[in-house]
Symmetry: C2
Subunit: 209 residues, 2 copies
DNA sequence: CTAGCGCTCATCCTTTTGGCTGACCCGTTC
DNA sequence: GAACGGGTCAGCCAAAAGGATGAGCGCTAG
């Protein structure tokens, strides 16, 4: 990459409005240009385009973190650095994206200057995190990650579906007492004291759903 | 309004990228133009701009439905028709917006053609609902109208946040008994028999969140 | 004006949930 | 082999939630 050829950006976002916005913002910069934009991350993978940065949404239409899997695939293939641009700043979204190998994580409410600066950084493979995201990560690091065990998650998911302890016990082939114990541990870890609060907290932390 | 002067659009959205996108999309149309764009709905109220349509986000930074209050205010003042453009398609968001007097409800993942068509319709004070939103409303209407009353929704939202009956009662300035009565009615309507199940059902039916 | 609905509240009773304590089994780790 | 964490279970007690019923108030639609 050299200074006189513009940065080539490829993007994928399922919102036409966002694609148009990024297109306009990026092409307005003298030192970067959009070489392609897609509605899904898969199309980026299927294309053989050469880019300096890939700008990717994290959550596509179905609400799943489809962008993460594609990020991992791009990284695995030794592709260009991937910069995530998304609406949500939940811990688990951020962590999922960074674990997948994203070079940066931006929020859609970022100022345009932040955005273009991040693209430049990302192209040079310098980490580019939005200020709010950085704060988030610091807070998380200080607070210590809340990790539920696999079994606890199975219990909590069923509780979130509205099942009673009795019903959860039946579904998991254990006793009521066991479900209650798991739940007690869950309450402890999430610092709550009721099943509904646990579900709310877990949802907030994106531990479930 | 006549055919040879372009439609004047004013917009408010807290995402710079979205503003740029809408700007690009609308100005690319021969028959419409953006006369102003703001980061908050309040700025629209404070300005004395003349517009044929106001394009408004529903949820601003704080996650609250700030756009609804401003929609109501614009309608009250006899201002131009308000077209909501948002990310979320939950029943409660849709209903809140329409109750506030919005002429239409669009989703940010709409195709550009849908969007421009809706703007034209809205300017002519013709209701303009995104296809998905229409489906949603039809489904609701056919599905036996599981319509919770405003108060019931307020209760259920707080329950979904993990509050106890006591806490909900305090927040709403009513007695525990009242909260329990509302909850009983909610259980009845949603055909469930516990708060967690009610939250799960309501979420599934997109009554909340 | 009466019927209906939404909102409010109360009482009594049953079931569920949550808090606490202690225990056993089984892997992994030190 | 001891310590540890995850998973399993039990019993007891207190608190919260849920079911049933009745009742008053205000508004609106027929």
């Amino acid at each position: 990459m050299n200074d006189h050829s513009p940065l080539r950006v490829v993007m994928a976002d399922d919102h036409p409005v966002v694609r148009a916005g990024l297109h306009a913002l990026i092409d307005a910069q003298p030192n970067m240009t959009v070489v392609a934009s897609f509605a899904t991350a898969e199309e980026v993978l299927d294309s053989d385009l050469i880019a300096d940065v890939i700008l990717l949404d994290l959550r596509f239409g179905d609400g799943q973190l489809g962008g993460a899997a594609d990020t991992a695939e791009i990284v695995k293939r030794g592709g260009p650095p991937v910069l995530i641009l998304t609406t949500y700043d939940t811990d688990s979204d951020i962590v999922t994206a960074m674990e997948a190998g994203a070079i940066g994580y931006l929020l859609k409410d970022s100022a345009t200057a932040e955005l273009t600066a991040a693209i430049v950084d990302a192209a040079a493979r310098k980490p580019a995190l939005a200020p709010r995201v950085q704060q988030q990560l610091v807070r998380r690091a200080l607070a210590g990650a809340v990790a539920l065990s696999p079994r606890e998650l199975e219990v909590l998911r069923r509780v979130a579906e509205g099942l009673s302890n009795e019903e959860v016990a039946q579904q998991l082939f254990v006793s009521r007492a066991t479900v209650k114990t798991h739940l007690a541990h869950i309450f402890d870890k999430l610092q709550v004291d009721s099943r509904t609060a646990a579900v709310a907290a877990a949802r907030k932390e994106r531990l479930i759903d």
